[in-house]
């Protein structure tokens, strides 16, 4: 593997992270920007484990993808509030700048990408599955990479597209980046993007043909990932070029 990942060697100790900024991405998703002492950096696509401790000493931990690029000074996580969640309601509603909690990582050595791996790069997201892919796009933009990249992003509604403004700015600034949205539940009146779930037709339209051997990363709910990966194989993409990561409701 050409990417030297910080995952493989040493023990992942719990560290204290301090919340330095909070951004509202959608009505259910927040970005937490964190300062972590002696953070050794990460590779786009990796995640961290977050552990919360209550006043009664009770603890719970969950994994969250890093959304910032490795070039950013601090790391960012996107947290979606799940009503039945144990950790996400706290992180997505209660936490304030200055608050601290434990974190360890970065973790993950397979669903990762850096510009050294080259392109074409194809990212396919469903809902909050955009999170690890955003780190890849920010890294690509910071490195001013020229090879073609595509993001195909399925969300339910327009106002549920996470990072929409930044994605639109990236696409305008970079002629080699194509960003395509599809809205599966409800579309604005003047909507010109897709209006159904990712299917064979949209994959044929937006994903580079198999002979170009695109590096494909699919992240989202299990059903979307399962179906998309299956269609990509049917279209002729090599299994080894398709990397998947699934966010279930239990990612809360």
């Amino acid at each position: 593997m050409s990417v030297t990942s910080p995952v493989t060697s040493q023990r992942k100790n719990w560290r204290v992270a301090e919340v330095v900024d909070i951004g509202e991405e959608t009505s259910r998703v927040r970005t937490l920007t964190l300062r972590v002492a002696d953070w050794a950096g990460h590779v786009p696509g990796q995640h961290v484990d977050v552990r919360l401790t209550g006043e009664d000493g009770s603890q719970a931990q969950r994994s969250y993808s890093i959304t910032s690029g490795p070039e950013a000074r601090e790391i960012s996580l996107a947290v979606e509030r799940l009503d039945e969640g144990e950790v996400s309601p706290y992180l997505a509603s209660e936490v304030r700048p200055g608050d601290r909690f434990e974190l360890r990582g970065p973790i993950g050595g397979y669903f990762i990408w850096t510009v050294e791996r080259g392109g074409p790069l194809v990212l396919i997201a469903g809902g909050s599955g955009i999170a690890p892919l955003m780190s890849m796009l920010r890294h690509r933009a910071a490195k001013k990479a020229k090879f073609p990249a595509t993001l195909l992003y399925s969300a339910r509604r327009y106002d549920e597209i996470i990072f929409r403004e930044e994605l639109d700015r990236m696409a305008v600034a970079d002629p080699n980046l194509q960003v395509a949205y599809t809205l599966t539940r409800e579309q604005p009146a003047d909507w010109r993007g897709g209006n159904k779930r990712i299917d064979r037709e949209s994959l044929m339209a937006f994903v580079n043909p198999p002979k170009q051997r695109p590096q494909i990363y699919v992240c989202g709910p299990s059903g979307l990932v399962e179906n998309t990966a299956k269609l990509l194989v049917e279209i002729g993409h090599e299994r080894g070029c398709i990397r998947t990561e699934r966010f279930g409701p239990t990612g809360a």
């Binding site: 009770s58 990966a229 998947t244 699934r246």
Partner: protein
């Protein structure tokens, strides 16, 4: 380390009474069955499916689907624990224990101290043989009385419930008994070599 910071107003959900000793540290209970896979689900043709027991790569015995299903069947009710922090209690499995597979080739014990599990699609995972014998592991073909879902390993997967569930390789097509330990797919990518949930052995060094 020093005491962790306290999150004001946060309180972890209490584990259901009577289940606390069944939920390892850092885990939470789920009622659904989440999926973890690195790539596309393999397309498998049952007619061409073969399961092999090997020693240092050499085939000791190979079964086709009908032959495999004619082996002694065992029913299990077990708790399972995924490294991504979910646990699920009282899951039902039916399949062939590794003990019965070994018996079918005339072995009372494992022929070598380590095993590499091989799956369709190239996935591998490693374990000491001791963790597969003595009623600790089965090659399951039914979950909750029904064939496995494709994304959960159809037609056959390993079930080693006392370890994190990535050790329970999906789409299993063979066990290779080997003299020395080698790392499998996730183990090579920074996950723990053994994966005991009660010791929270999630990643290298845990």
């Amino acid at each position: 380390m020093t005491n962790p910071p306290i999150s004001r107003g946060f309180r972890a959900k209490s584990r259901p009474a009577g289940h606390r000793d069944r939920v390892p540290p850092g885990q939470h209970l789920v009622s659904d069955f989440p999926v973890l896979s690195a790539g596309p689900t393999p397309q498998i043709d049952l007619v061409r499916w073969r399961f092999s027991l090997r020693e240092r790569g050499k085939i000791l015995k190979e079964w086709n689907w009908d032959e495999f299903n004619a082996l002694p069947q065992t029913d299990w009710k077990r708790d399972i624990h995924c490294v991504t922090t979910w646990s699920k209690l009282d899951t039902h499995w039916r399949g062939v224990t590794v003990d019965d597979l070994l018996r079918a080739v005339g072995h009372d014990e494992a022929p070598a101290p380590y095993v590499m599990m091989h799956s369709a699609g190239g996935y591998t995972t490693n374990l000491p043989s001791a963790d597969l014998v003595g009623g600790k592991a089965m090659v399951a073909t039914l979950y909750e009385g029904k064939p496995l879902d494709p994304e959960h390993g159809w037609p056959a997967r390993l079930v080693v419930p006392h370890l994190y569930f990535w050790k329970s390789a999906k789409w299993l097509i063979g066990l290779d008994f080997i003299p020395e330990n080698r790392q499998g797919f996730w183990e090579d990518l920074g996950y723990h070599d053994y994966g005991d949930p009660w010791q929270e052995q999630r990643y290298v060094g845990d």
